[in-house]
Every structure is written in C-alpha cells, then in structure tokens.
C-alpha cells in the first residue's frame, strides 16, 4: 500500500489498497472441523498460538458471515456434498485452506469412502501439509492467504501455495 510518510499529517492511498488492507487483517474463518485436524485448529485459536494476533479470532459457524473456509479433516463422499453446499453459501471473495494430508490428497486413507483431495470439488488456495499440521503451520497458511489478498489476487486464481511440514 502506497502510504506516504505522515509528516504532513495526511496520507494518500487507493481505495482498493485500503480495502485490501482491512480485509486482510479481518479474515473471518469458517471452521469446517471434521476430524483430528479440528482439534489442532482449536489449539490454533486457543491461548498459546492465539490467532487473534492475525485478526482471525472471530470463528463464524455461519457461512454467510465468513470469507475463509478452513477444511480440517478427512472429507468422505457423504460429507463432500455438505462441504460444497457450505462453500456455495459463502459470500465472495472467499478463500479455502486445505488443512492436513487427508483434505489435500486423501492422506493415509486410501479407501472406498474417502475423497482423494477436496480440490476435486472445491477450489483450494493454500494446502497445509502434516497429519495433522502443527498450529504454527496453519498460521503460516493463514499468512499466505493474507499475502494473496495484499497482492490483490482473486480466490482460485494464480498459483497454489503448498506449505511444507517442518520438524
């Protein structure tokens, strides 16, 4: 954002920039907590990792009030219809984080009932590796979404971001 130094007591910017800046720091996640990753997602919102530092502590269980869906857990074929329905109800612009191995690729569940990656039915912006990912890794995923917003990208466009697991 092109802020001038405020020595004269004012700054100039573009409306898009200031909207993007505000939007980036007030992402409201919709916690699509399905299985194990949901517990780590609760830690991510909990006292130690404290997602409030990034302006995303307001977890909204209503898709109408949220702009970031964190899909945390194994998505089965039966559940996939629910996930898609919730995604469809979210207002634009909407972002999706695929948290964990199951959500990204099916993970260790090579079985008849598990969808092998949610990108088969919803567009994904950031993939976070791990089974489940540590909360700090998920924070990194959130920051990547913030960077995308800052750059002015649209959801589902540009390159996908893959966050690797670190020891």
């Amino acid at each position: 954002m092109g802020m001038n130094s405020a020595t004269e007591g004012f700054l100039t910017t573009r409306l898009d920039d200031i909207a993007g800046w505000a939007r980036k720091n007030s992402l409201w996640p919709m916690p699509m907590g399905i299985s194990c990753c949901a517990i780590e997602m609760m830690s991510f919102a909990g006292p130690r990792y404290d997602v409030a530092r990034f302006g995303s502590e307001a977890f909204r269980f209503s898709p109408r009030q949220s702009d970031l869906m964190i899909v945390a857990g194994t998505v089965t074929y039966k559940m996939s219809h629910v996930v898609r329905k919730i995604y469809d109800q979210m207002p634009d612009p909407k972002w999706v984080i695929a948290m964990g191995a199951c959500t990204s690729t099916g993970g260790m569940y090579r079985s008849y009932s598990v969808v092998q990656g949610i990108d088969l039915f919803v567009p994904v912006d950031v993939y976070v590796a791990g089974c489940p990912p540590r909360p700090d890794n998920l924070l990194k995923g959130l920051m990547e979404i913030q960077k995308k917003i800052e750059r002015g990208e649209k959801p589902g466009q540009r390159e996908k971001i893959y966050i690797e697991e670190h020891a």
Binding site: M32, G33, I34, S35, C36, A38, I39, E40, M42, S43, G46, P47, R48, F61, G73, T74, T76, K78, M79, V82, I86, M108, Y109, R110, S111, Y112, S113, V114, C131, P132, R134
Partner: protein, 416 residues
C-alpha cells in the same frame, strides 16, 4: 361467548390478545416441525447429524445420522500388516491417541501371546492416564462452551497444551503419537519426561480446581445441566453404555478394576460413581475421574521399575533402530516383520481397555497371515450415541447441546 361459532382465525387472534388463554389446534401434528442439526454445527462435536422432531420446543423424537466420517478403518486394517495399523489407531479417538495405541497393541499381543516387560506396562499406564486427562479436558472445555462458559475452554486448552508438550517429549510428536509397538514401545521414557510429568501434575490439580469452581458454583451452569438427559440404569445397561456414561447411572463398572490389564492391579484408585443419571452426574463423574488419574499418575511414576521396554522375541518384536543399522540378524528380522508381518497363530480374540469414553475394544481374527483377517473396533462413542434418542425424548430443544456435550462423542471413532 360461545367461541365455537366464531371464525377460527378470529378466535386465534382474540386468544393471542388475551394472555391467559392458550390456543390448541385441532390436529396437533400440524404443530410438528422437523429440525435438522448438523453435520456442520458448532455443538455437535464433529460431524454428527441429528434430525429432531419438535412439538413447539419439546422434542418428540430424535434420530442421529452417522457416517459422515466413515473412513473405512476395518477395510484398511485387512489390507495392512499389524504394525502398519498402529498409526490408524491414533485417529480413531483423536482426543486420546495414546490410549488407542495401547488398546490395539494389547489386542495384538493377546492374539500373538507376547508378554510385555513391567517397565513398558507402567509406561503404558502413564500413556493411558495422560490420554484420559487430555480427552476429558477437551470434553470439559467444549461442553462448558456449549452451555455458555467460554473461559473454561481456554483454560482447558492451556492445560492440554502442557500435556501435548509432554507427548512431544515422550513420543516425538505433539498429537498423533503412534507410540506403542507390538511387544513394547517405540522408545523409553527419559528422566526429562518424568520430571516434566511431575511438574505438570504439581500444578494441574490447582488449575483444574479453578475451572471446576467456575462451573459448580455457577447457578446458570447447574440449572442448565441438572435433571436433563435422564437415562435409567436399566436402559443404560440394555443399550450397552460404558465408561462415564454408565458410572453416572450408578453402575460401578470399570474395566481397570473388573478385568485388570497392564499394571492397574498394583495401583490404588477409586471409581467415581454417581446415581443421578443426568447430565450433571456425568459432569461430576468425569471431573472426579481426572482427579483419580492424577493419583494414578503419581503412583505410577513412583513405582516404575527400571529395565527393558521391549519383549525379547526377535521374530515378532521390532529391533532397536541402531541395531538394525549395524547387525545382520536384526536387519533380517526388521525386514521380515515390516514386510510380511508378525503372523500370529490362527485364532480370534477380543481385548478391551477402559478408554476415556468407555470400553474401547478390538476383536481380531487371524488366519496365520501377516494381515488380520478381520478387525472390528468396538468404539465406545458409537454405542454411547445410541442413548441419544432415549435421552432427548421429552426434553427442550435448547438442552440438546448440553446433552450431546455430556455424551462426549468423538465421531472419528463412532464412524470408524
């Protein structure tokens, strides 16, 4: 005035103006409403779906719908060796992965006839009790949050993070542990871990007491929990409830006492039993259980002997990694166990432990191969959820979340 001759619409309108009269419709079924709750709902603890038929605010009947997290564990188990299935057990009841690891390897060891050294047994007891604490802390936080007390969730997670740090020291990971091995453990417990557990326990009782004070001295919490979600002891036994659900109905049944496994006979602990059969009783049972777990952990840490952690059975117990890299014999055994499995004799067994939700059992059928022919998981959450239709009938719609919270279901295990 003769009300029957007046136009019904006017009659309703008039009745609404007069606060002392109530309106009844001719056909009460017209009042019925079907409410769909879940599978994506903040208070259903995962992906439980509940269809509720309502008459006004009262529940006429409730039908749970499962399967949104059916991952096909039993099919996967038939296609993996006995060792390969251990990581899958972490993700069954993902609130207490360590206890599931223990339950599964106990079953395999019973099938194969392997005796585990005493030190490993004590470490497994510590694993089970730490897992129980971690699981109950999440239950405490989420149930309190469901009825409106958010502070307890944050305090519970503060304590749980400390337990996860201990898991990190003990197993190398903070969440999905995969710690046990058939015939022993992945690694020994270090002195650092022992000290960390002691340090945690020393401050835990105090912190738990603070959370408890927030709830049991709170009239809103007591009023919301007392007397709702009643299930009679006869129904509870008939449905097959286990764990805190059963003990809140006045039935003293705990597998740690009734079918002793590991080192539990050497440890001294009480089994909390309450007779009220309602949500509040289940709350008290779990709170008391946490205090008993602390007692067990102190004793186990005091009594833990030195010695080996793996049974000496080279054909079926994985050798130490450093020996695998340097000795030919161990390399061969490691290769054979990893690739072809441990081949237990033909037979079938059932082994259960007292998990944090209730009786967690594994039924295994072996045909003498490296893969189980059939593995059945007796998951406590699945059976406990069956009591929902009984408990919800006749209750108010606003109590549903408190009742589900008191069942403490984990869908990963209920849906398998």
């Amino acid at each position: 005035m003769d009300t029957t001759t007046v136009d019904p619409k006017k009659r309703i309108f008039r009745a609404l103006e007069d606060q002392d009269t109530s309106v009844t419709f001719d056909d009460p079924l017209e009042n019925d409403m079907i409410l769909n709750m879940g599978p994506q709902h903040p208070a259903t603890h995962g992906v439980l779906r509940l269809l509720v038929r309502l008459d006004g605010e009262t529940i006429v009947s409730a039908v749970p719908d499962l399967g949104y997290l059916h991952r096909g564990y039993e099919k996967i188990a038939e296609n993996t060796t006995y060792h390969e299935f251990i990581p899958h057990t972490d993700r069954l009841d993902y609130l207490s992965p360590l206890a599931n690891n223990v339950a599964y390897v106990l079953a395999v060891e019973k099938l194969a006839g392997i005796e585990v050294p005493r030190r490993a047994q004590f470490i497994r007891v510590i694993c089970c009790e730490l897992a129980r604490l971690a699981s109950h802390l999440v239950w405490l936080g989420t149930m309190a949050m469901d009825v409106g007390a958010v502070t307890v969730l944050l305090w519970g997670f503060r304590e749980r993070e400390k337990i996860q740090d201990i898991w990190d020291l003990l197993t190398g990971v903070r969440f999905t542990t995969s710690f046990t091995r058939i015939g022993g453990l992945a690694q020994d417990m270090s002195d650092e871990t022992t000290a960390a557990i002691r340090a945690f326990l020393d401050q835990f009782s105090e912190n738990l007491h603070e959370s408890e004070k927030l709830l049991i001295k709170n009239k809103i919490f007591i009023d919301r929990c007392e007397g709702i979600g009643y299930i009679s002891p006869a129904d509870a036994i008939n449905i097959g409830l286990t764990g805190p659900m059963l003990r809140a109905c006045g039935v003293e049944h705990d597998l740690r006492r009734d079918e002793p496994y590991l080192s539990y006979p050497e440890l001294d602990f009480d089994i909390p039993v309450y007779h009220d059969c309602d949500t509040l009783a289940r709350f008290y049972v779990r709170m008391q259980e946490m205090k008993e777990s602390v007692k067990i952990l102190y004793q186990a840490l005091d009594k833990i002997p030195n010695g080996q952690i793996n049974a000496s059975d080279p054909k079926r117990v994985l050798p130490k990694k450093e020996r695998t890299y340097s000795k030919m014999e161990e390399l061969i055994h490691d290769f054979m166990i990893v690739n072809f499995g441990i081949n237990p004799p033909i037979g079938e067994i059932y082994q259960a432990i007292e998990g944090s939700k209730g009786e967690l059992g594994f039924y295994l059928v072996s045909h003498g191969e490296g893969y189980p022919w059939r593995l059945k998981i007796r998951s406590p959450s699945f059976v406990n959820l069956q009591s929902l239709p009984v408990m919800l009938k006749g209750q108010m719609i606003s109590d549903v979340v408190a009742i589900i919270g008191s069942v403490d279901p984990v869908m990963g295990e209920a849906d398998k």
